[in-house]
Symmetry: C2
Subunit: 335 residues, 2 copies
DNA sequence: TTGTAAGCGTTATCAG
DNA sequence: CTGATAACGCTTACAA
């Protein structure tokens, strides 16, 4: 049915150049042992025929696909896109391709993703997805594909991980709030099923408050700017809510609270203070700017890819890296 | 060296189940002609052995990789991430994997990307990248891989395209500005090498001004929030610049101008008006909100993937789709 | 319904 | 330095 030229194969090149397959293969792979003369002859007919080796066949023969799988809930979050861009940079340098696997925050999709990853025959994976458990990663590893897991404490034979640490930074800001005379109980915006990172932060929040013997509030909201914005427009109508400190999951949510406050005529940070746990570009584009916890996701992506290549070469020594969140002060909090 | 189990092959399954390769293959591929009894027997040993077919070998044998290549400058732009997420959704539905190829706005990388795409043996590509020319896409097509190209008028035998149209919307807003008594000449923020989209908008901008016999200004800036913000903080110190209408490439740039204005005590939109040509979430998160031209990139991604599958099945009838930019009014312009 | 065997496009191990 | 030839793991006529 296809009237386009079929792919030229190594065999056709060999025939046209009057050599054997093996020689062509040697030329492609820049093997030493080829006479300059034959090398040129072969290279010329490669160019003339427009031959490109089939990655598929190479992968099958060498048992290396030069493909690495990236498992994420979605590419549509700024911090994930940042990470992706870090991974990309290093992958290019190391000559790997990236194959994307998204789970859409669903356990079912996570399960089918694992199957897909295994049959895809990737050389390794980078996983930043709360839906995957220790067992899942172990399963992937059992098929001989190493993984580096981000922000999810998972260990194993061919597994490395990068952990985010919010503890000290978050604890510090809470203590500082109260020691600076913060009167209203701090509020934590709880998002149902938003993942481990938020869960851990919530724990730190609770623990620190217990230690201090302070009251706190938990406000439920959705992981959506628009919905949270609407919710807080309503919320701020109640005068008793017009003062306080709000700890928000990520910039979009923090911006929603921020905008709802200012749009309601509430002064930030004089009356309402807002903190974002995951800083992105939004943090410095909104007004007032957001005080936010920052992790350099581009760097995380790069490091993940470096660790993975080491893991694939079996020479990764330290299998756990730690990344501390840093507080970047903005105008949405008093100090 | 590896003490982990090697991948189980179809051959081992066959042996363990006491059947031939062919039968196992039939079971995997859900072929009709297998006795329920043997099917069960085979399926059981597949499960027992944890066998997963090798996608590589399947691809080689069938000449279908179920992989589609996505060629973009970077995943790190909100509108591209949006598109990616649309593509992902449909790809999942159609059972394709996505392989990412990024060119980083560099012609050299674009060239090497083409080579990579060809050897990667993808079944098709979606291209949203100004670095690729008609010739490049034709070359890809000549290796029998169809493409859908976004916002770049490219045609060919196995090529479809989706075009963005800014003409009417942009023209309308310019005319309205002057007919509503806009006094200062409009300014267009020119970003060097920012791509065809901006170039086309600039042409429309110029043409419309010529038709109206109006003066205009061109301001050069960089494709970076921070740099543009700094530049305009300076720029707005000059009182003669403190009034005007600024047409900006994308939200980040528009937000930079917006913030520089308000941070300089200039009233938006009373003194300075700002328009963004590529709307994203930023448009409604900043204050004042941005008036912006909007194209639903998630939808564009979906449509691209639908067109591509049709193209791969050789039954795409209409090979060009058009997407009109819509003006979404915000608070950064007067009307 | 099932098995045999040829092929898919490479690499890699041998000889020569 | 070069050429046969056997893998690599699967699909798919063709036979049985």
């Amino acid at each position: 049915m296809q009237n386009l030229k079929d792919r030229v194969t190594i065999y056709q090149v060999a025939q046209a150049a009057g050599v054997s397959l093996a020689t062509v293969s040697r030329v492609i792979n820049k093997s030493e042992s080829v006479t300059p003369a034959t090398r040129k002859k072969v290279q010329d007919t490669i160019d003339a025929l427009g031959y490109k080796p089939s990655g598929l066949a190479q992968a099958l023969a060498t048992n290396r696909s030069t493909n690495i799988g990236v498992i994420i809930p979605s590419a549509n979050y700024v911090y994930i896109a940042n990470m992706l861009s870090g991974i990309t940079e290093v992958a290019k340098e190391k000559n790997y391709q990236l194959t994307l696997f998204t789970t859409s925050h669903s356990r079912d999709e996570a399960i089918s993703t694992i199957e897909k990853v295994i049959t895809a025959h990737v050389d390794g994976t980078i996983i930043f997805d709360d839906q995957l458990s220790q067992d899942d990663v172990t399963k992937i590893a059992s098929y001989n594909v190493p993984s580096v897991v981000i922000d999810n404490k998972i260990q194993g034979d061919r597994v490395a991980d990068i952990r985010f640490s919010y503890d000290s930074a978050l604890e510090a800001i809470i203590k500082e709030y109260y020691s600076n005379g913060g009167e209203n109980p701090m509020a934590f915006l709880h998002v149902h099923d938003a993942g481990r990172l938020l869960g851990r932060c919530e724990k730190i929040f609770l623990k620190t408050h217990e230690e201090l013997g302070k009251d706190y509030r938990i406000v439920n909201c959705r992981d959506s700017y628009t919905q949270t914005y609407q919710q807080f427009l309503d919320y701020f109508k109640d005068p008793s809510n017009q003062r306080g400190f709000y700890v928000c999951y990520r910039d979009s949510i923090a911006a929603a609270v921020l905008n709802a406050a200012t749009d309601s005529g509430i002064k930030v940070p004089e009356q309402v203070e807002v903190l974002s746990l995951v800083a992105t570009k939004y943090a410095y584009i909104v007004r007032p700017t957001l005080t936010a916890m920052h992790i350099d996701m581009i760097d995380v992506g790069k490091r993940a890819m470096y660790m993975l290549t080491d893991l694939m070469n079996q020479d990764l020594v330290v299998k756990t890296a730690r990344v501390e969140a840093k507080l970047v002060p903005g105008q949405s909090t008093k100090k």
